[in-house]
Amino acid sequence: MTTFRKLLTTTCVAAGALAAAFSMATGSASADEPKKFKIFLSLSYSGNAWQSEAANIVKALAKTPPYDKLVDLKEVISGTDPQAQIGAYESMIDAKADGIVSFPISSTALNRTVKRGCEKGVLFFMYDATVTEPCAYNVSYITAGFGENTAQALVNALNGKGKIFLSRGVPGNSVDKRHTDGAKYIFKKYPGIQIVAEYYSYWDDRTTQQETAKALAAHPDVDGIWAQAGEYGAIQALRDKGTRLVPMTGENSNGFRLALANPEFQKDGLKGVSSGSPPATSGYAFKLMMEILTKKRELKPMNIQYPLPWVPADKVKLCKGDTFEDGCNTFPEGKVPSSFVTEVFNPVFLPELSLKSALDGTPTPGKTIQPLPAEVVKAPNEPGINCQKCEPPADLYKLTKVQPTVKP
């Protein structure tokens, strides 16, 4: 039966080949010194500006002295599938991780695995998005009231009446739900405000543009737009239809901020505020974790609130250099893509960073890690966001950034 010998040999050969293929890949992994902290950066997916900026910030910090000597950082992108991120977490736990700083794809699906990790002494720091597992640290702006504040700002801009669009995020996503609930809580108070279209834009410029275009076909006479990330697409959609712009609120894309500051656009009717999710959260989370690991800080697992960025049109200030010096908060046209999310810096939390860090994940020459302010802001409980079975505070939707200028 010569064929069998042939078969078996081929099988082995193939096996060998496969093994070889992988071991090429492993070469890098096999060489780490034991004393470094083993930190994993776990992204659910990458591919939009926000995600990669957040990741780059962490990478840059990990290369900034003294962390470059202390940290062995490994990035893992597991894709939009919770199963995959669960698998990734499990592998990290098995790989004896000291800490995992992560953007969780689901606020709930990962809990079981996170819990297992905690029991094995792994620190979990979730940035921006959150998990409801109490043993993890959530560092996020979500609880800071983006929805209600921007909604109120829009209402003020519209003097309490008009037809508006809601450009939402991803259907069935807890963050989107929190923002929208907050906004609707405000809008409900004003009978003059009429939500004529509500669509999902997946936090993406292009989708926002397409969905807004669809909505405009049905309601050309819209008076204002309340948008989550991707807001710049809404402006483009309006522009495609003509020159008329309307008051709108959105998140932190550089394009949107430039548009807000653009006198011509203002003349065409654009006003509003830029707020929402800052990638810098990841850096803050990472530094907190490092301070705990390096015993510089005592902190039990808790939900930490990251301050909500708030930049109305008149506060937009172009930056001369590559960092946020003297209160500038926007980069001039052409320096970064319009989809670039500007809130990558924080003079207080992350003075070490520069634009290159956010774009390429490279450290800023000459900078060293600065300590964080001692106190952290505790985030209020929000069921389904950062705790499972808990009571939300009575003043869940209280306004912090803006006050009503029009009576309902």
Partner: protein, 336 residues
């Protein structure tokens, strides 16, 4: 294209062992099994914990939902169809489990029945559209998939809820300290397959998948065969949704979305011919397990995150090429 290969199976000379081995190698399931062993060996090589009980349990818990879903898909594919509704069913049963948690073993049973009910219902709908009304399966099931996802969003508009603790804790556990329960459930499905394999209904499905006209002229009811395939598939999707909920212990209205592509990848990797009539549910199951294992192997192999995909892609292709090569070798061996 595969006909001669099939032919060899029947008329392969040589000792029974020889025939048996050749069967394994000429049949997709066997090849993907070999691949799985190779990958697992690599995984164990790089990550000792792979052999620990918890490691194995993780693997099995991770793979179970996809494996069962792929098993369902393979039924439809063998009958020469595509079924996209899998992601709809999985999402739907997942949110139901999380919205109406029922504690205790009875609760588990009831929830299971609910999931099977949902899956079965959508399966029946697919069967109606494809088998009886003769719509193209890929288009019809696209419609039912979208409907399923919609209903899931209606029931639960954001992730949340909790699956009954008893269910999520017990079924992710191990018995006798070594055997993961999720693994047992998958084995149960496989066992069911081997029973089903020996029914006229299953032979009918294979026949219809290979040559509808001949099958109907041979007295097989094409409609019944197709219908059976879709309903069976639906039920298994329901079970997959159940197992997913068990693992994530929570509801997510979009939980099923990733299953769409993965099930097909698993099915094809498992050597089930996407043109119908050939393959085995076992292959699909192992294919799914392989896909899930691959992630771990790449992780433990330390492949740079950005390029993980490149490896996944190449392994997919390599697996297929390797498989067909082995099969050809085996069949030429038989011819000689």
């Amino acid at each position: 294209m595969s006909a001669n290969l099939d032919a060899m199976r029947g008329s392969a000379p040589g000792s029974n062992v020889a025939v048996a081995i050749r069967r394994v190698l000429t049949d997709g399931a066997g090849v993907v099994a070999i691949l799985y062993v190779i990958l697992f060996a690599l995984y164990a090589l790089w990550d000792r914990s792979a052999l620990s009980v918890s490691g194995v349990t993780d693997l099995s818990n991770n793979a179970a939902p996809l494996a069962i879903a792929a098993a369902g898909e393979s039924l439809v594919v063998i009958s020469k169809g595509f079924d996209l509704s899998v992601s709809g069913v999985v999402s739907l049963s997942n949110v139901l489990m999380a919205t109406y948690p029922i504690e205790g073993p009875h609760g588990a049973l009831i929830s299971l029945l609910i999931c099977l009910g949902v899956g079965g219902a959508i399966g029946v709908l697919n069967g109606l559209l494809v088998a009886i009304l003769r719509l193209q399966s890929i288009a019809a099931t696209l419609g039912t998939m979208i409907m399923g996802q919609g209903l899931a969003l209606v029931i639960m508009d954001a992730p949340g809820g909790t699956v009954a603790d008893w269910v999520s804790n017990t079924l992710t556990d191990v018995i006798f300290g070594v055997i993961p329960i999720s693994g047992l459930i998958v084995l149960a499905v496989v066992a069911l397959w081997f029973v089903f394999r020996r029914t006229d209904a299953c032979i009918g499905i294979f026949a219809v998948g290979a040559d509808e006209t001949a099958a109907s002229l041979s007295g097989i009811s094409v409609v019944r065969a197709r219908f059976t395939a879709f309903v069976g598939a639906g039920l298994l999707y329901g079970l997959a949704g159940f197992m997913l909920s068990v693992q994530t212990a929570t509801g997510n209205p979009t939980a099923g979305t990733p299953f769409l592509m993965l099930t097909f990848a698993a099915v094809a990797l498992g050597g089930v011919s996407l043109t119908g009539g050939r393959g085995s549910l076992v292959g699909a199951v192992i294919g799914a397990a392989t896909l899930m294992l691959l992630q771990k192997v790449l992780f433990s192999g330390g492949v740079s995150s950005f390029y993980t995909g490149i490896f996944q892609g190449f392994v997919l292709v390599l697996a297929i090429v390797f498989g067909s090569f082995i099969s050809r070798l085996a069949s030429t061996g038989a011819r000689a």
